[in-house]
């Protein structure tokens, strides 16, 4: 599993870092974000790359979990 922490960053940085993390083709990836746009963009990126995505709210933060389908 790979974890990417992009809290405190706004797009395109969260997308760039997630995209980079996906290069190794992980079966599971967790992205921590605190920005609504980052949450949406990362979710769509993971879905388009073939991951099943679940988002949970942790206070003001988002935990985006992707599992390769």
């Amino acid at each position: 599993m790979i974890e990417v922490d992009v809290r405190g960053f706004v797009c395109p940085v969260p997308l760039m870092r997630t995209k980079k993390a996906l290069e190794s083709g992980p079966a599971k990836i967790v992205v921590l974000a605190d920005d609504g746009t980052a949450k949406t963009n990362v979710t769509y990126l993971l879905q388009d790359e073939g991951y099943a995505v679940a988002v949970t709210n942790d206070g003001d933060d988002y935990r985006i979990e992707g599992n390769k389908q």
Binding site: G8, F9, V10, C11, P12, V13, L15, M16, K19, D34, D35, G36, T37, T40, N41, Y44, L45, Q47, D48, E49, G50, Y51, D60, K68, Q69
Partner: protein, 411 residues
């Protein structure tokens, strides 16, 4: 193993948002907005600045609180709160963003439009916009080189919730001023606004279909404007040849406001951005934001053809000039500053309305940039760029690149 999808659900939502913005924009022009200016973030923020800057800043021809902008702000705030995305945040290079917003605006007013209007102009057949968009692509490309090398404007910090309401509060104040001005027939408190449908003669006399606005005490006699002392200020030929004052070209207030509300809410939900599509295509090979822009161009082009507003060519385009470098170079700066700010001016307005104080700084930088642009006579006219524009672009390019190098940390 799932297959990699090139265009996912976000692309269709963005495409629909772009299409809606394009259709609204063409309709707002039909209803009275300036040509190819159904929506322009730079121009409309400038018009709002002009309401406060007025004659002192050489801006009185533009003064009008554009309800599209106010509506967009409030629509985005309501959408963000409804979907629990309204968050007070800031501290991520506010000063840099203010400066970048300022430079963005001065540059946009040399091209004569923000990226949103560049796409709208393209959809109106204005080929000068294609030159500007070529410059925009170059600017965005330079921006992505910085991003790849580690450019980060700053880390965002969470702030106390009430601080997030700065932009919405400003929007409410602007709305009140706009409504008071509308029902009062004139701007309150020493501010200025252009009368709806106002035209200006070569002599500088301003009039509407109902009355003479300037000089005061003058009146219309047999199609000529005559002063209180009986002297002719502008002949009937001069009055017939008068051209519209930009701030007086506008759609009905409530129509503009409703269009703004809808666009603001849709843009907040979809994250529509007029430069992000090109940026993401280069940077991460994602094209969904580009679908939004494509939707906008298709929407406005089709509706312009329906309304008979489509005019293909370089010459005689509304609120545009034909100077090649005067269209190309400022848009390079627009593209670069937009990438450095983290999104196009439309996105800045939307993010500011979601509680992002850094975006508020960018928007205020834009509004002050408009005052400087007109106060220092840097803005272009239909005749072409002002003489000072070239020097200004050189200085602004140096400052923008300086910020780029300053905020690029070794990865």
């Amino acid at each position: 193993m799932g297959k990699r999808r090139v265009l996912g659900p976000s692309a269709w939502m963005l495409g629909a948002t772009g299409l809606a913005i394009g259709v609204f924009a063409a309709y707002l022009v039909k209803q009275g907005n300036p040509g190819n200016m159904g929506l322009c973030i730079a121009c409309f923020l400038r018009d709002i600045s002009s309401f406060f800057g007025g004659e002192a800043m050489n801006m009185n021809g533009f003064a009008y609180i554009r309800p599209e902008i106010v509506g967009m702000m409030l629509g985005a705030t309501v959408a963000a709160i409804s979907f629990r995305e309204f968050k007070a945040r800031g501290g991520s290079g506010s000063v840099y963003r203010f400066v970048l917003g300022f430079i963005f605006m001065v540059s946009a007013l040399i091209f004569l439009g923000c990226p949103v209007r560049a796409w709208l102009r393209l959809g109106g057949g204005d080929l000068n916009a294609a030159v500007g968009i070529a410059g925009l692509v170059v600017g965005i490309f330079v921006g992505t080189v910085f991003l790849k090398r580690g450019y980060i404007v700053g880390r965002v910090k969470k702030l106390a919730k009430p601080l997030g309401f700065v932009m919405p509060a400003i929007a409410v104040i602007l709305l009140v001023l706009a409504l008071v001005t509308f029902y009062n027939g004139a701007a309150p408190g020493g501010f200025s606004t252009v009368a709806k449908g106002a035209k200006k003669t070569a002599e500088g006399a301003v009039f509407t279909a109902e009355k003479v606005v300037s000089p005061a005490d003058a009146s219309m006699v047999d199609g000529a404007i005559v002063g209180a002392d009986g002297a002719v200020v502008a002949s009937s030929d001069s009055v017939a040849a008068a051209t519209g004052v930009p701030g007086g070209s506008r759609a009905p207030l409530y129509l503009s406001l409703v269009a703004g509300l809808a666009i603001g809410a849709a843009a907040q939900r979809s994250r529509f951005c007029s430069v992000g599509g090109i940026r993401d295509s280069i940077l991460i090979k994602r094209y969904d934001l580009l679908v939004g822009v494509a939707g906008l161009v298709i929407g406005v082009a089709v509706m312009n053809m329906v309304f008979g507003q489509f005019n293909l060519g370089f010459e005689g385009q509304p609120a545009a000039h034909t100077n090649f470098l005067g269209n190309f170079l400022p848009m390079v700066l627009v593209g670069l500053t937009a990438v450095f700010m983290g999104g196009c001016p439309l996105r800045q307005v939307i993010m500011a309305s979601e509680g992002d104080l850094d975006a508020v700084a960018a928007v205020l930088g834009m509004m002050l940039g408009a005052v400087a642009s007109h106060g220092l006579s840097l803005a272009s006219t239909g005749a072409g760029p002002a003489s000072g524009a070239w020097v200004a672009m050189g200085v602004m390019a140096a400052v923008t690149l300086g910020i780029g190098f300053l905020r690029t940390q070794k990865a």
